[in-house]
C-alpha cells in the first residue's frame, strides 16, 4: 500500500519536475518579457552539451552543470543585446528571428560536433520501495525544479533588481523616467531566463540522448505550461505545473503514454478556453 502511494507521488514529482524545469526559463522570457523565444530548446541543448563536454574533459558533474547553466545565461545575454532588443514591439518578428537562430544553432552543432555526443551515465544509485526500484537522481531533478522556482521567487520578489525588473515589465517608459537602466534590466532578465533553460538541460543531460535537436523534446511542455500559467511566473507557472502534472501522471498510470500526452494537451485546450489569461489571470482577478 505504502509502495503504491509512494510510487504515485514519485511519478507526479517526476512529471512536475519535467514541466517546471522546461518552463522556468521560458516563463521569464515569454511570460514576463513577452518575447516568443523559439530558441528556448537550443538554450536547453547548450546547457546539456556544455555539461557533458566538461564531464568528458574531467570536471565533476555538479561543477559541469553549474558551468552549463552559466554559459547558457551568458549566451542569453548576448542574444538579447544582439538580436532581441530591436524587436520588443514586434512579437512576430522576434518569433521569426529566434526561430532562425534555432535553425542556425542546431545545424551548426550538427556540423561541428556531429550527430550525437557520448552520454555520461546517470549519477547516484537507486533505492527500493516495496517491489519497485527507483533512480535517486530523479529526486534530484524534482529538487532542481523546486530550486528553480525558489530562485525565481528570491530574485524577482526579494531583491532590488527584482523590483526594477517588475517595474520595467509593467511600464518601461515610466521606469526609465525614474532612473531604472532599462537596457540592463532586459539583458539580465533574458540572461536569467536563458540560464534557467541551461539549468534544465544540465540537469537532464545525464538521463537522455544527446543530439543537436534534443531541445525539441522540451518545447511542447514548456510552452503549454507557460501559456496555462499566464503572465505571472510565480502565481502561474507553479500551479500550472501541478495541474498538468496531475493530469498527465493519472493518465500515464492508468491508460499509457499516448493517452497521457493527448490528455494533457486536451486539458491545456480546455483551461485556455475557460481562462484565456491562464491561471495567474484567474488569481489576479480574484485578488482584486
Amino acid at each position: 500500500m505504502f509502495a503504491e502511494i509512494f510510487s504515485i507521488l514519485y511519478q507526479f514529482a517526476d512529471v512536475f519536475a519535467f514541466l517546471i524545469l522546461s518552463a522556468a526559463g521560458l516563463a521569464i522570457i515569454f511570460g514576463m518579457m513577452g518575447v516568443i523565444n523559439m530558441a528556448h530548446g537550443e538554450l536547453i541543448m547548450c546547457g546539456a552539451y556544455v555539461t557533458v563536454g566538461l564531464v568528458h574533459g574531467g570536471f565533476p558533474l555538479p561543477l559541469a552543470q553549474l558551468c552549463g547553466t552559466l554559459s547558457a545565461g551568458l549566451i542569453g545575454v548576448v542574444i538579447e543585446v544582439a538580436l532581441v532588443r530591436k524587436l520588443y514591439k514586434r512579437p512576430l518578428d522576434s518569433l521569426l528571428a529566434t526561430w532562425g537562430l534555432s535553425l542556425v544553432v542546431t545545424q551548426g552543432m550538427l556540423i561541428i560536433f556531429g550527430s550525437s555526443l557520448a552520454g555520461i551515465g546517470t549519477p547516484e544509485g537507486s533505492f527500493s520501495v516495496g517491489p519497485y526500484s527507483f533512480s535517486t537522481y530523479r529526486l534530484v531533478l524534482f529538487g532542481g525544479s523546486i530550486a528553480a522556482l525558489a530562485v525565481i521567487y528570491v530574485i524577482f520578489m526579494r531583491t532590488r533588481f527584482g523590483i526594477h525588473a517588475r517595474a520595467t515589465m509593467q511600464n518601461a517608459a515610466i521606469a526609465q523616467a525614474l532612473g531604472v537602466k532599462v537596457g540592463n534590466i532586459y539583458a539580465l532578465s533574458f540572461g536569467i531566463g536563458a540560464a534557467l533553460a541551461g539549468f534544465c538541460g544540465a540537469l537532464y543531460a545525464p538521463t537522455m540522448t544527446l543530439i543537436p535537436t534534443m531541445g525539441a523534446t522540451f518545447i511542447v511542455e514548456s510552452f503549454v505550461t507557460v501559456v496555462v500559467g499566464g503572465a505571472n511566473v510565480l502565481l502561474g507557472t507553479a500551479p500550472a505545473g501541478v495541474l498538468l502534472a496531475a493530469v498527465r501522471t493519472l493518465l500515464n498510470a492508468t491508460q499509457g503514454q499516448i493517452v497521457g500526452q493527448i490528455g494533457m494537451l486536451l486539458a491545456v485546450i480546455v483551461i485556455i478556453r475557460l481562462l484565456p489569461e491562464g491561471i495567474s489571470g484567474l488569481i489576479a482577478r480574484r485578488s482584486r
Binding site: G119, E124, Y132, S133, R138, T207, M208, I211, I258
Partner: protein, 413 residues
C-alpha cells in the same frame, strides 16, 4: 543531276555522322542514382552512415569502370526526416532529375509515403533498412533484414534462455505496431505471453512510469522496439533505476549503435539478430571496414543501414550488367531467374524472385556490461520466405500492398 546526287550524299553522310556521335554520347551517359537520406534532423545520426555507404560504393564502382561502362552519378537530397519532403523530393528526382533508380528512406512511414509515387513509374526503388516486412510490390527491392530473419531467430532464443513472459515497448507508428504484431504471433506459437505492451509517441523521452509498469508486470525479458533519439533515453533511465532485465530488439546496437553512445552499463543484456554489425570479424568484413574507415576516418560506427546502402549499389550493378538494361521490366526478368546474387561482406546474399527481398546471413549478438558485443549464435543464411509462403508472387502478380500476420492476402479461388 550530279549536283543533286552530291547534295543527297552529303546529307546522308551528315545524318550518319550525327547518329554515330549521338550513339557515342549515349554510351557515356551516367547512370543517375537518386538518394533520399536524412543527414539532418532527428535521424541524422543513423542517416549519415547511409550516405557514406552510398558514397563509398559509388567511388569504388566508378573507379572500376562504372556499370556497363557508364559512371554512376549520385544525386542526394536530404528530406530531414519530414515525410512530406520525402514525397516532394521523390517526385523531383523522378521527373526533374530523371533518375534511373531511387534508393533511400529510413522510417517505415517515409517508405510508405514514397512507395505510391514510385509505383506510378517504371524505376526500381531500393529500401535498405530492416523493417517490419510484408511489402509485396514490384517496384521495391528490399535488402534489409525482415521479421522471419530477425524475430523468428531472436524471440525463440530469448524465450528459451530467459522465459516466456515478455514486456513490449514499441514506438507508436506503423513499424512499432506491426513489429508488436509479429511478436505476438511468434510468441503464441512458442507458448509465451505478452505481460504488457506500451506504445510510446515519437519524441517522448521520460520513462519513469514505463519502468514502474515493467517492475509491476515482472516480465522475463523486454522487447525494445522504441525508435528515435528521445525514446532511446529509456535505456539510461532504466539502468539508473537498476531495472537490469534482459532485452531483445531488431533495431538496437547494429542500427543505432547505442552501445557506443550511452555510458556502460545502460545496454547490458541487450540481444539482437543482425545481418551486419561493425564487430563482425571475417576477412571480407575487415577489408570492408578498412576501406570505409580510410574514406570516413571519423565514422563513429558503421551501422547495418550504411552497410545495406553500400551493398544495394553493388546489387544494382550486378542486375543491370546481367540484364544489360536499367529498365525495371528487364531487371525483374533477371531477378526471376534467381541469380541476382552478390558476394557481400556478410556472405553471399540473393534477391528472392517471389518477394524481391534479400536473403541474409543472420547472427545473434549480445552486449555485456562493458558494452562489448559477442556473437552468441550463427543461423547461417536465412531466406525471406514469409511473403512467398502467404501467397505473394511478384513473378505472377503485383500486389502493391503491405501484408502482416493479421492482414494476409485473400486466397485466390
Amino acid at each position: 543531276m550530279k549536283q543533286h546526287c552530291k547534295l543527297v550524299r552529303g546529307l546522308a553522310a551528315g545524318v550518319v555522322l550525327a547518329a554515330a556521335s549521338m550513339g557515342a554520347a549515349l554510351a557515356a551517359d551516367p547512370i543517375k542514382v537518386g538518394l533520399l537520406e536524412d543527414i539532418s534532423g532527428d535521424l541524422a545520426l543513423i542517416g549519415k552512415p547511409k550516405l557514406n555507404g552510398s558514397l563509398l560504393a559509388v567511388e569504388e564502382i566508378n573507379k572500376a569502370g562504372g556499370i556497363l561502362g557508364r559512371k554512376i552519378e549520385l544525386i542526394h537530397l536530404d528530406p530531414q526526416g519530414d515525410n512530406a519532403r520525402y514525397q516532394e523530393f521523390a517526385r523531383r528526382l523522378i521527373s526533374k532529375d530523371k533518375v534511373d533508380v531511387l534508393i533511400g528512406g529510413i522510417t517505415s512511414a517515409s517508405r510508405e509515403a514514397v512507395r505510391p509515387i514510385i509505383d506510378r513509374t517504371d524505376i526500381p526503388y531500393f529500401y535498405t533498412n530492416q523493417y517490419e516486412g510484408g511489402v509485396c510490390d514490384a517496384n521495391m527491392i528490399s535488402n534489409g533484414a525482415i521479421p522471419e530473419q530477425q524475430f523468428s531467430t531472436l524471440i525463440p532464443y530469448m524465450v528459451e534462455t530467459f522465459g516466456k513472459k515478455v514486456y513490449v515497448i514499441a514506438a507508436d507508428y506503423n513499424f512499432g505496431q506491426l513489429s508488436a504484431e509479429w511478436n505476438r504471433t511468434i510468441l503464441k506459437k512458442l507458448g509465451g505471453t505478452v505481460v504488457g505492451e506500451e506504445f510510446i509517441p515519437l519524441g517522448v523521452s521520460q520513462f519513469a512510469q514505463t519502468i514502474q509498469n515493467i517492475q509491476k508486470a515482472k516480465p522475463d525479458w523486454i522487447l525494445t522496439i522504441n525508435v528515435g533519439a528521445a525514446q532511446d533515453s529509456f535505456f539510461e533511465q532504466a539502468a539508473a533505476a537498476k531495472l537490469n532485465l534482459p532485452m531483445g530488439s531488431s533495431i538496437k546496437i547494429m542500427l543505432g549503435f547505442e552501445h557506443k553512445r550511452f555510458a556502460p552499463p545502460a545496454l547490458n543484456r541487450m540481444h539482437a539478430a543482425a545481418n551486419w554489425f561493425e564487430e563482425i570479424d571475417t576477412p571480407e568484413a575487415n577489408d570492408f571496414k578498412k576501406r570505409w574507415h580510410a574514406k570516413f576516418p571519423n565514422e563513429t560506427y558503421i551501422n547495418d543501414m550504411g552497410y545495406n546502402a553500400y551493398t544495394a549499389l553493388y546489387m544494382y550493378k550486378q542486375m543491370v550488367e546481367a540484364a544489360k538494361s536499367t529498365k525495371l521490366a528487364d531487371l525483374r526478368k533477371f531477378i526471376a531467374t534467381g541469380n541476382a546474387c552478390i558476394e557481400a561482406p556478410e556472405g553471399k546474399i540473393c534477391i528472392d524472385p517471389k518477394s524481391q527481398h534479400t536473403s541474409h546471413r543472420m547472427r545473434l549478438i549480445a552486449v555485456d556490461d562493458k558494452h562489448q558485443v559477442k556473437v552468441i549464435k550463427d543461423y547461417g543464411t536465412i531466406q525471406p520466405y514469409w511473403l512467398g509462403e502467404i501467397g505473394c508472387d511478384l513473378t505472377k502478380h503485383n500486389d502493391k500492398k503491405q501484408y502482416s500476420p493479421t492482414d494476409l492476402p485473400k486466397k485466390k479461388t
